[in-house]
């Protein structure tokens, strides 16, 4: 029985296809990157513990509500009674639409309730109260 074998396998990692792999990764990141569309209003979000992630960024519309009671959709200040028209159009275009409310923690509930009423009129019922994670 012969035990001395010659190792003839080269131990180099093939680098010829490395640019292709990197390009693929690059294209993946370029495609998945969604740049932030709107800057919104300056709000301090409330904190909550039992929070869940929004399903998809593409099926989300944001409503900002500032401490002073300003309502902003897509960087335009709107009056609460105009929300229904904007949201109705959005909801008709995308039935999976979730509305993310980014309200300041010291905003008043009267306005939030107005938004609720408007959203009900627009048949946009999936809602998400945007909040930060609270530390136990």
């Amino acid at each position: 029985m012969k035990l001395n074998r010659k190792v003839n396998i080269s131990s180099d990692i093939p680098t010829a296809s490395m640019p292709d792999i990197i390009f693929m990764l690059l294209i993946f990141f370029m495609v998945t990157t969604v740049l932030r569309e709107y800057s919104g209003l300056d709000v301090e979000l409330p904190k909550a513990k039992r929070i869940q992630k929004l399903k998809s960024k593409r099926h989300t519309a944001h409503i900002w509500l500032s401490k002073q009671g300003q309502i902003s959709i897509e960087d335009k200040l709107v009056r609460s009674e105009n929300i229904r028209h904007i949201m109705y159009a959005k909801r008709a275009a995308d039935p999976q639409l979730t509305i993310s409310i980014k309200a300041d923690k010291s905003a008043r509930m009267g306005l939030v309730s107005d938004i609720h009423t408007e959203l009900r009129k627009a048949d946009a019922l999936m809602l998400n109260y945007s909040s930060k994670t609270a530390i136990e």
Binding site: A48, L125, N128
Partner: protein
């Protein structure tokens, strides 16, 4: 003036392509912000969808402008709502919690209340208009 030049075959140097691609990749990795929005999910009732519910299955949860909570008539501290709801849900699993806020209630207090209800695993939450 010697204008004769030898054409030596044009080749794009590909040895640095990997480096360039890496650089681009790193740029996109760094600039990609995965700030997934998080929050409390809730579903509003549809317009004109009013159901008759037995009085025993409704628990009114009121919150005033100072952030004080009244749970079915009894004052409860905000941080104890979770336990109280859990206890009541154990007694009656058909319980619907109707949250009603004052106009001047702070949104932050309201969100903490909804959070407390969610932590008590309450699934039937109804949101009434403000008063």
């Amino acid at each position: 003036m010697n204008k004769k030049r030898r054409f030596k075959g044009g080749e794009i140097p590909t040895s640095s392509m990997a480096d360039i691609a890496f650089l681009l990749l790193i740029f996109f990795l760094v600039t990609t912000t995965i700030d997934m929005d998080k929050g409390l999910g809730i579903v509003l009732p549809a317009e004109g969808e009013e159901l008759e519910i037995k009085k025993t299955n409704i628990l009114n949860c009121l919150i005033n402008s100072q952030g004080n909570v009244l749970l079915g008539g009894d004052p409860v501290a905000l941080k104890d709502v979770n336990k109280e709801i859990r206890r009541r849900l154990a007694e009656n699993d058909k319980l619907i919690i109707s949250v009603k806020a004052h106009k001047k209630t702070k949104y932050g207090d309201y969100v903490s209340l909804i959070d407390q209800l969610k932590r008590a695993n309450a699934t039937r939450i109804s949101i009434a208009d403000t008063e």
